[in-house]
């Protein structure tokens, strides 16, 4: 488990109403608390394009406006996570694994059409094995669903990390009314 704010909130502090943390891997923690301070542009333009292409395939924006927001979000997220956190290896290894999959096609994911991308990505995501590419898609999904674009897709107009108004939390939740949870 990586030591993130989300993990902190989820596993520890808020869960217990106390300043408690919930990570288990000390090595990972130490890395995170003392992240590599790297130069700018740790991810190349081509790599960022591939990350955006993976995100686009995973999230499948509803329209061009949402597509633009997703791209902006992912560029901010990936660059922030590798310059401020220890996630560079996650991106490099995940993209390398993706490149291996693409070898036969001799193309980048970004160069493929939506249908081909989806055909390629879907079985990789559905697989049980937690390989480097699955770790990368988890990282990308965390970026999407920790940001405005992901929360908005749930019907939330605000989300943790931005102000929502003092009494927002007292009202019936956002989103489709009376959504019935399924198992």
């Amino acid at each position: 488990m990586l030591w993130t704010r989300r993990v902190f909130v989820q596993v520890g502090a808020v869960a217990a109403g106390a300043a408690v943390l919930g990570w288990s891997q000390r090595e990972a923690l130490s890395k995170l608390l003392d992240p590599p301070r790297a130069p700018e542009n740790l991810l190349s333009a081509e790599e960022l394009n591939e990350i955006v292409a993976v995100a686009d395939t995973l999230f499948e924006p509803d329209d061009e406006q949402e597509r633009g927001e997703l791209e902006k979000t992912m560029r901010w997220w990936a660059e922030g996570r590798v310059t401020r956190g220890p996630h560079l290896d996650v991106y490099k290894a995940g993209l390398a694994a993706l490149a291996t999959t693409l070898t036969d096609r001799r193309e980048s994911l970004a160069a493929l059409g939506p249908a081909d991308r989806k055909a390629l990505i879907t079985p990789l995501v559905a697989g049980e094995e937690k390989g480097p590419f699955k770790v990368l898609t988890d990282e990308i999904l965390e970026g999407i669903y920790s940001s405005a674009i992901g929360w908005r897709s749930l019907g939330y107009t605000t989300f943790p990390g931005v102000p929502s108004g003092p009494l927002e939390y007292t009202t019936r939740p956002h989103g489709p009314a009376r959504v019935v949870a399924t198992a």
């Binding site: 030591w3 520890g12 808020v14 869960a15 408690v20 943390l21 669903y145 990390g161 939740p173």
Partner: protein, 517 residues
Amino acid sequence: MIDICIVGSGVAGSLIAYEAARAGKTVVVLETGRRYDPLDPELYERVRLQLYPWQWEDESRDAFELDSPMRVRLNGGRVKAVGGTTLHWNAYAPRLQPGDFRMKSSFGVARDWPLSYEELEPWYVRAERELGVAGGDAPGMPPRSAPYSLPPHPYSFSDNEVFLPAFRKAGLTLGYNPMAVASQPYDGRAGCVGFTTCAPMCGSGAKYTGMVHVRKAEATGKVEVRSESHVRRIRLASARRVGRIEYVDKTGAAQTVEARAFVLAAGGIENPRLLLLSAADGTHARGLGNESGLVGRTLMFHTASGVRATMKERVGGHRIGFGTSISWDHHNHSTFPETGNLLLFPADLQGPMPADIAQSSGLVGAALKDHVRKRYGSNVKVIGEGEMMPNPENSVTLSTAKRDRFGDPIPRVSIRMGDFERRTMDRGVEIGRRIMELAGAKEIWTDTGPLGGHYMGSTCMGADPTESVCDKFGRCHGLDNLYLAGGSIFATSSASHPTLTMAALALRTADSLARAL
């Protein structure tokens, strides 16, 4: 020579510094950690990127040995930085119950505090004002002589719709949760606007942190806070008086501070460690102030009984960073000596978060979006925070195997749950499960374990010097000018979160200290 040297700039150290300065005393605060600027946008950016903002831990300084069958995340429960652990606390601020102060005499277990709830009550009122505690009525809450500083945070949607009815059906009550989060602008702080990231960092400044009193103390012109100043030894001037503190400053140079009085406010682990490291000849051979042999002993945590559940409908979690209700019904000493007290907190801040649901779905595209939309937001939890008994075997000692980068033995933390604690946790699970069943939960699952972050009892206070380390003002029994502050001086753990009590005791210590000098 300055008047007071304080080790540690958390809630206890900063409050004492401020109060002493207001009384005209000069103060130097030594803080081993770095100083963060709460207004630094980089901190906020890290929170937005789901990264922990306070990067305080330094393996070469903060390593520890653990002797426990439990997973104890010591460094996860504390922050070594200016402002201390309150930088990342969740700001729950309940008082202890009156019975917590007379456990031995009234209930035949543990030990008594050397002061009563009634003696501490006026200091609770002051602490609530200093911290800006928002609260309101809650059945069974400790008696109070004054209203809270701020009106309560209204109940969340899930409290109103799920928990209040379920608790009622269970024959239990809920009331407002006292929070050191401003419900409206207070003392220069903004009112809460629902950033929801209280732990680890409030985005608006509504949450109290020790930085509030660090800044106030510095504004007096009588307090100097020296960050990245790591204290190594406390040196005696005579058998009953401390003369100076030795520390390493941020450049690596050895320094000393001489003062008329000294306060250790470095937390439940470092307070006893410093006393043990500073052993001297004669009566202090086992550690400063350790004639009782109790320095480092009777370390206590809290226990946690967690019951999570999936409800049939969305409850709208993650829209505020804390639970808005509390139940005191099982924090009334009615089950002693079989099981301990439990303070119950419902909350809708429980996972899985949307990202968790997405990651475990194995889906892509519209199917993914639909899946997350349908499954997010139905989870809730009831936490039963329980107490531990003061067992001398649970301790902070000095490692014989490892040293930090200064060459000093790292702390060795030994802690185990006994039958009492296990029974208390089981009872918490039983109560929580019943509540969830009455709430109509679809699925329920439970977990128990130690609640990190609350490190208490390791330099306990008491009336008898042979059975405690300091007196009811925090003054070390064997040393006339050395005071202890923070959770380490608690005689019992109670089931309540400790910070407000730490603040109340610190204010009382500051008052006593200012009078003594």
